[in-house]
């Protein structure tokens, strides 16, 4: 009797666990259902390739897409050298101890800083103190620091998953430590590092709070000519259209369309990253 009761309770509890997993999927499903249902009609070739018209109530989002690409790829140029350098140090050189603990605390804390605080920091240091103003340069520096922890942790994981036998074989041939890292470890870890790169790209592309006072403007009459120009960016465009536009209801269709484009962009990046990660796991 008692055993049977236990079984029933166990079944019930486990069903609740299963249900909660499906709640996530349902939420994700609902999210995509509404986004695609209302956004798909806005998307056309013209929407993707032309600038906004008539006080942002018509036309396309080309400058925003371009701006988002410039900002996210630009931030990689800033973040990659520091990110991969740190990862190499952590995985190949560091020894347990105070210094390592300090470095790790730094990375974890940087990862926890809210994006609006990055925005404040970018505004104070790059835009005001270094006089970069609200510009692409300010934006990519701010975003570069913001994605640094993502790059570090994925690259470190990739480097430390390279088997030690690779390193030993290289040392056995008389190579020095740096030669081994450069010629053996880094190439073997490349797919993993690439995964991290794409994930950080997607993080930078979707970031809004960090760019709203450092790089993005609601409307720019022309495409940016240099890194000292401000840009339009997709996430900021969605925010402004949805909250501060003159005709919020009238542009609802454009808002859904822009949101759908941003989500598709980010999904594609993430799918590529998942695919690359799967490939890497097969290899070792």
């Amino acid at each position: 009797m008692a055993i049977k009761e236990n079984k029933v309770i166990e079944k019930a509890v486990f069903s609740i666990f299963r249900l909660s997993a499906y709640v996530n999927i349902m939420a994700l499903g609902l999210f995509f259902y509404f986004l695609v249902k209302n956004g798909i009609s806005a998307i056309s070739w013209e929407f993707l390739t032309s600038p906004p018209k008539d006080m942002m109530t018509k036309g396309g989002i080309f400058p925003c897409i371009l701006g988002t690409f410039i900002l996210s790829f630009g931030s990689m140029i800033v973040a990659l050298p520091f990110g991969i350098g740190t990862a190499i140090y952590l995985s190949e050189y560091a020894r347990e101890g105070f210094v390592l603990r300090l470095i790790r605390i730094g990375i974890n804390n940087l990862a926890g800083v809210p994006s609006i605080v990055f925005g404040l920091f970018g505004l104070a240091l790059f835009a005001t103190y270094l006089k970069f103003k609200v510009s692409i340069l300010t934006g990519i520096c701010t975003l570069g620091i913001l994605v640094l922890p993502v790059i570090i942790s994925t690259a470190e994981e990739a480097l430390s998953s390279v088997p030690d036998t690779f390193r030993e074989a290289s040392y056995g041939l008389g190579a020095t430590k740096w030669q081994t890292i450069k010629k053996v470890v880094l190439p073997a870890a490349l797919p993993g590092i690439l995964t991290g790169l794409i994930l950080s790209l997607s993080r930078a592309a979707g970031e809004t709070a960090a760019i709203m006072y450092t790089a993005a403007v609601f409307f720019a009459p022309r495409l940016p000519h240099s890194i000292f120009d401000p840009v339009m960016a997709l996430p900021y465009h969605i925010y402004v259209l949805a909250t501060a536009g003159t005709q919020i209801e009238k542009t609802r269709n454009l808002q859904y369309g822009s949101a759908l484009v941003l989500v598709i962009l980010i999904l594609m990046m993430n799918l590529i990253a998942i695919y690359l990660r799967g490939k890497k796991q097969e290899k070792f």
């Binding site: 520091f82 140090y89 470095i103 609006i116 925005g119 570090i152 740096w178 709203m212 808002q255």
Partner: protein
């Protein structure tokens, strides 16, 4: 020649060590600039008035800089979202780690990670145009943009963080522990509650702490969905204005180096210290109660 190579090796390892200090340098720089731009407000109001003042009217004459309503807004939004996100996140993690078949796990895990990749501005947008009208209609409210809606959206965002870190912790509980429990005649549920969960508790606590830290610092969702009224709410359907939302909404209208500008940076300090504290707690837990093989507990 050989000496040359050795010097080069030495230079490279020193250079990499220096690069490894970038992150902590930036944390220090963020700290410095927030204080540099934020502290001048305390020449005008005392720390006490700033933190516990009940009125936030930065543009009136004379202005009021009491962030208590904003602070309470942040705390309530974070707590309410945790009430939703912690059970769902942890239970999903248990399902993925202990119950799901390898096939289901292989599909569900990336899907939940995908949830983490969704940009916050789009989730805020979803809350505004889909969830808010729904709440307004079915709960008969003045506005659907309120504390409850914001918490719901924040929970949606912090579940993936909570879930994936907890899942790692639960999944890495050694099989010997489970087998030992089964061998003593315990059921799966008993094993789960008395063996697996206690030994992965530190990992789960870290997951929860990081999830809450993400919720308290999240900006776009609370900016778009929380309603934006700087007052202390009386019910969960009242609008609030959490700290990140205030900074994001008001920075554009605050003249450079004005009191308002300094006050917004000072809110940034409070926010930064808060998330910093959360991260240090997570750091402390994971360092002190590290899962070490079978020897946890």
């Amino acid at each position: 020649m050989k000496k040359n190579i050795l010097t080069k090796e030495k230079i490279i390892s020193t250079l990499l060590l220096l690069i490894a200090f970038t992150s902590i340098t930036f944390v220090a720089l963020i700290f410095f600039f927030l204080f540099h731009e934020g502290l001048p407000i305390f020449k005008h109001v005392s720390v006490r008035e700033f933190l516990f003042g009940k009125y936030w009217y930065p543009t009136s004459d004379p202005p009021d800089f009491g962030i208590f309503p904003l602070f309470i807004g942040s705390i309530l939004v974070t707590l309410l979202s945790s009430v939703i996100a912690i059970p769902i996140g942890v239970m999903t993690a248990i399902y993925l780690a202990e119950m799901a078949s390898p096939f289901v796990r292989k599909i569900l895990k990336p899907l939940i990670e995908l949830l983490a990749a969704l940009p916050s501005v789009v989730i805020g947008f979803f809350g505004m145009v889909v969830v808010a009208p729904f709440l307004q209609k079915y709960f008969d409210l003045a506005t659907g943009l309120n504390l409850f809606n914001a918490s719901l959206m924040l929970a949606f965002m912090s579940i993936p963080t909570i879930c994936s870190i907890s899942e790692d912790a639960i999944y890495s509980v050694p099989t010997e522990l489970k087998e030992g429990s089964f061998a003593l005649g315990a059921t799966h549920l008993q094993t789960l509650l008395r063996v697996i969960l206690p030994s992965s508790l530190s990992g789960i606590s870290v997951a929860i702490t990081l999830g809450m830290s993400r919720a308290i610092g999240e900006t776009m969702v609370v900016l778009m969905v929380a309603g934006g009224a700087a007052m202390i709410p009386e019910s969960i359907f009242d609008p609030v204005r959490p700290m990140p939302a205030s900074i994001a909404a008001e920075m554009a209208e605050a003249p450079y180096k004005s009191l308002h500008y300094h006050a917004l940076f000072a809110i940034g300090i409070v926010l930064f210290l808060f998330t910093w504290a959360f991260n240090m707690i997570a750091e402390y837990i994971s360092h002190k109660y590290k899962q070490r093989g079978t020897a946890t507990l």
